[in-house]
């Protein structure tokens, strides 16, 4: 069947098998492999994307159910430059790096997409709010400590003065303890 979606701002028209899951469509048809599959029971949250602005587990939806919708994946979260390269990162992306909120990186896209949904609903969440919001996402590396801190960091920095600063990838900022 044919489906029409907007993915990361681009209109897409694709023929897919009826049974294709949204996550498989994103990974295999569009080659957006930042969205991961960590389980087969919709328990781990590694496949979380935004569907019309709301966080969903893309392994629980058929691609056909997303027909006509707008999907944002981890690849579409940062602001892109006109040439398609990564421009300004989302505060959560910076927060995860600043606070060492990731190790192997596999759960990270899902964590960031879930957290982005939380911050939209609740711009200044408490530690408790954050931990509850992450209940559907499993991380095996970090013990969640630094993920919680990363989301708090992002909540504190949405006003963006730091984001304008191109420090993130240089050692000068990196060595600030």
């Amino acid at each position: 069947m044919q489906i029409n979606l907007t993915v990361n701002g681009k209109a897409r028209k694709t023929d897919v098998e009826d049974r294709t899951l949204l996550v498989d469509y994103l990974r295999e048809n569009l080659r957006l492999t930042g969205t991961h599959v960590g389980c087969d029971t919709s328990s781990c949250g590694a496949c979380t994307v935004h569907l019309d602005g709301v966080a969903v587990k893309s392994c629980t939806l058929l691609a056909a159910q997303a027909d006509g919708c707008s999907v944002t994946t981890i690849e579409g979260l940062a602001q892109l430059n006109t040439n398609g390269t990564i421009g300004q990162l989302h505060p959560l992306q910076e927060g995860f790096k600043e606070c060492h909120g990731l190790q192997c990186g596999f759960c990270t896209p899902g964590m960031i997409m879930t957290a982005a949904d939380l911050l939209k609903r609740n711009p200044s969440p408490s530690e408790h709010d954050i931990r509850e919001a992450l209940e559907g996402n499993i991380c095996r590396c970090t013990g969640y400590h630094n993920i919680v801190k990363a989301i708090q960091w992002a909540a504190d920095h949405t006003a963006a003065p730091l984001l304008a600063d191109h420090h993130v990838w240089t050692n000068e900022v990196a060595v600030t303890v």
Binding site: L32, T41, S43, E98, H100, C104, G105, C107, I138
Partner: protein, 798 residues
């Protein structure tokens, strides 16, 4: 050995440098094996045994073979010429009998017997994953189901179902270590108090978030294979697969471990699927990919722990530990996995002195086969089991003797030793600890806890329905595995060194190749910090290459908290060679003697002058050797192998505070304090992160995780809906601190931090619940892990 820290500029070392690898992961550009698509790639799905023990009577593939898009189906008959997956460690019986090592076949052939649920019978290869899955489900197998056993203690009983007909007692080997049993019996008989604990260290599942994935690709023209694999050690996989399983020449095989989504031990081992996709890609001259789903991961990835133990610790009237007597049955699973025999023996038995002066110790291990998937190293590998045993006994003994558990530990700690002014500390169980200073970690832990205030609050809480408890755990572990000659003498079939190459490019930029493999540990940052500091150049000028067997001669990979201690040391050796040769070139250019030069801040300077030459100029000269020392080879590129002199011995103190609801039995972890001494630290942020992750896994074992097998040896909680893993709202913020006792025998003075969190935390949490229960008048000795509310409630209401 010179202390590397003292002679370095340390611009980066010791700093919490943000990780350079993060950019690709936070933007969705990480590249894991399943993300890779090769032209013409086919997809595999395995037909597996639904039974834990059953004979294949017949296989009917007619329907599956006829399905459009199915390219090939191979069964055991097609691969009968391939060898089994080998075991990498041999531990013989104490009477000298050879370790029993059943063949671990690629596929179970008709007439043969599946030994655990998930044992593969056929590999179906098709144009898409969906077709392969559909076709695999259409393969009809007639099974003759046989009785099965999952529990290691049950497997030893007379009449238990046999895993391998040729080994009727289900025993793989037995083993003992320590002082003669008579001496230990005498020490225990003379003891004023003996604390006895019979317990189970339950089986847990590693659960790396990225399921295993492999792509085998054979190129007919060059007769060369490439295997992409989610592994912790690409070279080791290449060696095992080429030399032992497929019998193909190693120089014709490239193994790439791209981004890997966590391992925790489970991705050390060579698995049958790796060899089969590689083999099948040659049969079909097309790449073949297999990605495990989570259900398969539960069935097939090697599990951890699974000990059934009786332990006794004897004390004199003053509370000094006099003896320790241990009898344990350890589960090996159906086949011996890569490092399986080493885990309950040399990684567990040797750590059973802990950090206490214990005059007499005897350990009696029996390692048994069961109808379950293999048990092998899982984060900590043997050391968590050893720590659990010792630390449960210490806290319980304190309760039984009316002593303070912290005081009892202080009294029994091995006194401080630095491994420099004396040779280290020789234990009763073979190891010689390198350096240790145990009082400060517990002192700091008590300070962070606010011990006196806590005990007061606990007394108040005991009057309510919410009991408070504190649990202690002080551990020592062995990392940086290991001197090759030592492990060789103990049965390892591999050396356990590491290799590194430092290639200085003509412009002075540096490519570092390491045999260590980063799958979350942050090597691309920490290793670069070390190299940049040692060479006095910016971090941006250094790149780390890992995970590709074609890029580096050999490597042993990442496990056992060994990467920095062993792999980092190999890098230092190569850097020393670069600087030594660079000095020759610099001396020639500056027209002085090498001895007149000193190297700092990225340049060689003639001592006492302002005459100098930069690292980049020397590099360029090495590759454009027009004005050059006579007889010196061009180029600036050195490889090294580093074989450690000893294990490293990190130690620390973990303290858990819990609240137990008397009405429901629900435990809430209120605080988790960890004070670890992992030697020198290159990047505190990353070390803290490693500790956090380990703590979560250790707490997970205490409170949430554990396999449940039914009477037919079927795993009944093999999904994330059924197997409980710690989630964000189950854990508190962790309170961490460090003390530093440098390793005396490696150039960085580092010990390793990857496993410490998982090693110390588990007993502290269980001890805390026991302590809470005693405070409420329930004198309970043990609660089976995971400590579910039901189990805690029953413990209080028995």
């Amino acid at each position: 050995m010179t202390n590397f820290f003292k002679k370095m500029s340390n611009k980066f070392i010791g700093q919490s440098i943000k990780r350079v690898e993060d950019k690709r992961f936070i933007t969705g550009k990480g590249r894991y094996t399943d993300d890779i698509v090769l032209p013409g790639m086919l997809h595999a799905h395995f037909v597996r045994s639904p039974y834990a023990h059953a004979r294949v009577v017949s296989i009917d593939m007619t329907e599956a073979q006829a399905m459009p898009g199915v390219i090939a189906i191979y069964t055991g008959d097609d691969v009968k010429d391939l060898n089994g997956v080998p075991c990498g460690w041999q531990v013989n019986f104490r009477n000298g009998e050879t370790m029993r090592e059943p063949k671990h076949p690629m596929l179970i052939a008709t007439g043969d017997t599946a030994k655990h649920a998930g044992d593969p019978v056929a590999i179906v290869i098709a144009e898409s994953k969906a077709i392969a899955t559909d076709a695999a489900e259409s393969v009809q197998i007639e099974w003759d189901e046989l009785p099965a056993v999952a529990n290691p203690a049950e497997a030893l009983k007379p009449g238990a179902p046999k895993v391998h007909e040729q080994f009727p007692d289900n025993t793989a080997f037995d083993w003992s270590l320590g002082n003669p049993i008579e001496e230990v019996d005498a020490a225990m008989a003379a003891a004023a108090h003996v604390t006895t604990l019979e317990f189970v260290n339950q089986r847990v599942v590693p659960n790396a978030m990225e399921p295993r994935a492999y792509i085998g690709a054979y190129d007919e023209v060059s007769d060369k294979y490439t295997l992409y694999t989610s592994t912790q050690n690409p070279h080791l996989i290449r060696l095992l697969m080429c030399a032992f399983v497929l019998g193909i020449p190693e120089h014709k095989v490239r193994v790439v471990g791209p981004d890997v989504g966590g391992g925790f031990g489970s991705k050390i081992y060579h698995y049958t699927e790796e060899a089969l996709v590689t083999w099948a890609s040659k049969q079909l001259s097309q790449p073949v990919k297999w990605t495990s789903d989570r259900s398969e991961a539960f069935l097939l990835d090697a599990h951890g722990r699974d000990h059934v133990t009786k332990a006794e610790m004897g004390f004199d009237a003053d509370g000094n530990v006099m003896g320790l007597r241990i009898k344990t049955v350890a589960n090996m699973g159906a086949y011996l996995s890569t490092f399986a025999p080493a885990v309950p023996t040399y990684l567990h038995g040797t750590l059973l002195q802990g950090l206490y002066v214990t005059p007499k110790i005897n350990i009696d291990m029996t390692c048994v086969f069961t109808h379950t998937v293999a048990v092998d190293a899982y984060r900590g590998a043997g050391r968590p089991e050893a720590t659990y045993l010792l630390e449960r006994l210490m806290d319980l003994a304190a309760l039984e003797m009316g002593r303070d558990p912290a005081e009892l530990r202080f009294q029994n700690f091995i006194p401080k030793f630095d491994g420099v002014t004396e040779p280290g500390y020789q234990t009763q169980v073979a190891l010689q600890y390198d350096s240790g200073d145990y009082h400060p970690v517990l002192e700091r832990g008590l300070e962070m806890l606010g011990y006196a205030d806590f005990r007061a609050a606990q007394k108040e809480a005991a009057k309510t329905n919410k009991l408070l408890g504190v649990g202690f755990s002080t551990y020592v572990e062995a990392c940086g595995i290991a001197p090759s000659a030592v492990v060789g003498a103990l049965g390892a079939r591999a050396g356990l060194y590491e290799s590194a190459q430092v290639r200085v490019q003509p412009t002075g930029k540096v490519s570092v190749f390491t045999g260590s493999h980063s799958h979350g540990q942050g090597h691309e940052t920490t290793f670069v910090q070390v190299v940049a500091d040692k060479l006095g150049i910016p971090m941006e000028d250094v790149d780390l290459v890992h995970g590709d067997s074609d890029a580096l001669a050999f490597g042993m990979g990442t496990y056992g908290s060994r990467s920095l201690a062993v792999g980092g040391s190999a890098i230092i050796k190569s850097i020393d060679k670069v600087l030594e040769k660079g000095a020759k070139i610099a001396a020639h250019k500056l027209e002085c003697a090498e001895g007149d030069l000193e190297y700092a801040e990225g340049k060689w300077t003639v001592k006492g002058t302002d005459k100098s030459i930069g690292f980049g100029d020397v590099a360029l000269t090495a590759y454009v050797p027009h004005v050059y020392p006579a007889g010196l080879e061009p180029g600036l590129d050195f490889s090294s192998f580093y074989d450690p002199a000893n294990f490293t011995y990190p130690f620390g103190c973990h303290i858990a505070v819990v609240e137990v609801d008397r009405e429901t039995g629900k435990t809430t972890l209120k605080r988790m304090i960890a004070v670890d001494d992992v030697g020198n630290v290159i990047n505190p942020m990353i070390v803290d992160g490693q500790i956090h992750g380990g703590l979560a896994q250790g707490i997970g074992q205490a409170m949430f995780e554990g396999t449940i097998y039914d009477e037919n040896a079927q795993l009944t909680n093999g999904t994330y809906m059924d197997y409980c893993m710690p989630r964000a709202d189950d854990l508190p913020m962790f309170e961490t601190d460090r003390r530093t006792t440098p390793c005396p025998h490696n150039p960085l003075g580092v010990k390793g931090a990857g496993e410490a969190g998982a090693i110390g935390s588990t007993p502290s949490v269980v001890n805390a619940v026991i302590d809470a229960l005693w405070s409420g008048g329930h004198q309970v000795k043990d609660i089976l892990m995971p400590m579910t509310p039901e189990r805690v409630w029953r413990a209080m209401n028995n």
